[in-house]
Symmetry: C2
Subunit: 402 residues, 2 copies
Amino acid sequence: MVKKVLKFGGTSVGSIERIQHVANIIKKEHELGNKIIAVVSAMSGQTNELIKLSKSISKNFNKREFDVLLSSGEQVACALLAGALINLNLNAKSWLNWQIPILTDGEHSNARIINVNVGKINEFIKDGVAIVPGFQGISENGDITTIGRGGSDATAVAFAKIFQADSCEIYTDVDGVYSSDPNKIPVAKKIDKISYDEMLELSSVGAKVMQSSAVQTAMMYNIPLEVKSTFTDRKGTKIFDQESIDYTKSVTGVAYSKDDAKITLTGVEDKPGVAAKIFEPLYREQINVDMVIQNISSDNKTTDITFTIKRDEVIKTKDILENNKNIVYKDLSYTDKVSKVSIVGAGMVSTPGITFKMFKGLADEKINILAISTSEIKLSVIINEENTLNAVKKLHTIFDLD
Amino acid sequence: MVKKVLKFGGTSVGSIERIQHVANIIKKEHELGNKIIAVVSAMSGQTNELIKLSKSISKNFNKREFDVLLSSGEQVACALLAGALINLNLNAKSWLNWQIPILTDGEHSNARIINVNVGKINEFIKDGVAIVPGFQGISENGDITTIGRGGSDATAVAFAKIFQADSCEIYTDVDGVYSSDPNKIPVAKKIDKISYDEMLELSSVGAKVMQSSAVQTAMMYNIPLEVKSTFTDRKGTKIFDQESIDYTKSVTGVAYSKDDAKITLTGVEDKPGVAAKIFEPLYREQINVDMVIQNISSDNKTTDITFTIKRDEVIKTKDILENNKNIVYKDLSYTDKVSKVSIVGAGMVSTPGITFKMFKGLADEKINILAISTSEIKLSVIINEENTLNAVKKLHTIFDLD
């Protein structure tokens, strides 16, 4: 007998028809003899609707009450799904955050699941299906909390870990992880197996199939994941640790991010602590710095630092850099229409010539590289935004992903 | 220092603007030094929307899950109102059914509040405002329940009783109890003070300002009520026990109900148990029988029984009466376009000639009386529906209510 955590996202339960469809998926799994815990998001649109209501009261809506408000969305979806399952003659039951309970710590809207009481649910799933709300829990003093990073995906992974489930399946509106964005690159292919690291690199650069922090948790506890479509019967993408994957290709996928901007500071004093001085005020203002590149200084006295941020934060960032007296540099320049294109693959390290092949491919397309950054399993370049799709297509082809 | 339970219905919290308006009402009450517990309904339309969702899954939606579903509506309204109050710099907090807890017994969708834990809320309202959800609680085994009869009004009265509040104010979309329906009888006047009994008689015949069962509970525990408008500053209607009211008028109001039908069975055997035989099968089919009139039999062997029901249940009722072999009678006749017009007043018993005055008034208008029924504080007649408004106007005038 296999114990499974199945997670259904907002679009998967976005209408009554879809909820009934999900009920049928669960019924099939249950009939196979599996023990099922289903983690459910709020119906798509619902959470945004609730956020809108709170914002029309105050942009600074109280965080405790915000969590009380938002958690109602998953409650509705849980009740409807449980009702639909009972209607199919299954023994199903919704379990709310406080009924389980799901214990969290950390602050409101950004809590973290620290424990889940397994007793009652383990007893119930011997023959019943437990429906639990994603994205929430209660704090030690009995307040409702919502969990920040990872949302319902994080709930699913936490349940898989704490209930020692045999698998954790993430049902969503795409049928897996692709070698690139299938909407833009029609030759993109679904990946059957991928490592946690590759998945993280792909999702952090735009392929948003699963919440990154949930993948990180799964990686930490080695919980096998599967991302699959609610709406087709096709096989999804399995996500394991690297060792379990037999690589035939050096590059797994090509990802890109849009709406980026690049800022370069030249003539920055080259001594310890300078980078910290630059990035501390940006961090305090919650500006999300992505790529940072610093070259070896040519004169041993000054250096140049380039970094990327989201485009809509350029003005704010410029203001901070220009007005903070602790930050000394000669010149500030920026390009606000750049994109980041990355090739990702756990097999890259062991394959020589990948870097050259990428640069050559871009040169053939006459695409200028503005900055380069590499990691163990990823190689990213910053290019002018207008070249994005050309670059992605070219790289997709030369690395045999079409 | 006065402890108050304030109840706000669905229309009172039906939009963000209205929630902010309610927050200002509560703020004023709080600034007067009152200790406030606010009982809140779901935003108007919300509960119906949730019922619709459940019905599209199944007409026989599981009752436990139905209560989980419905209770989310009040949760949303509580969080929004608490957030709005905090935004006005008040110390406010929403308390959900399980956080208090509100304990209920009885079945799902028809539970009854049996206890409320007062400790934490009494402590909190020393300087804060507690916002609690109407219409719900939890059962002994920790399931969410919704309370059937009385809804949020019943929650307000239960809280007023259990917290030993000094008053219980029902904020609604009308500004009190009227001597008749102000939409149809323009000369109808707002009543300043009314007894529980009169209120019950008036509301049971169409003046739906408060849930009757909540008024009954208030009467049982002698909890003073006040019905007032959320949208105007005008004084509302105070509801006390009869002894506290000094009657200057014998008749307090004129009420009427529409969509009634009258069924008469003639030649019914006149012996003990016959009425029970007739009404038991109707009760089992959930047909709501209103007025029942039985005359003294003329021949000591048979009698006639007349009763009223809602018009849309005539066919069903006729079927039952004609096909149940236990029910024996000579003839069945019915009129399906009748209405019930009632004069209500706790001072009626002590004022001679009320009955005569009513019948004379109707006769002057050439209105035929089809049946008559009286109680201590009410005198009702069944007439043809077309005469309803004429009758109400006439009675309103002759009993000095204009």
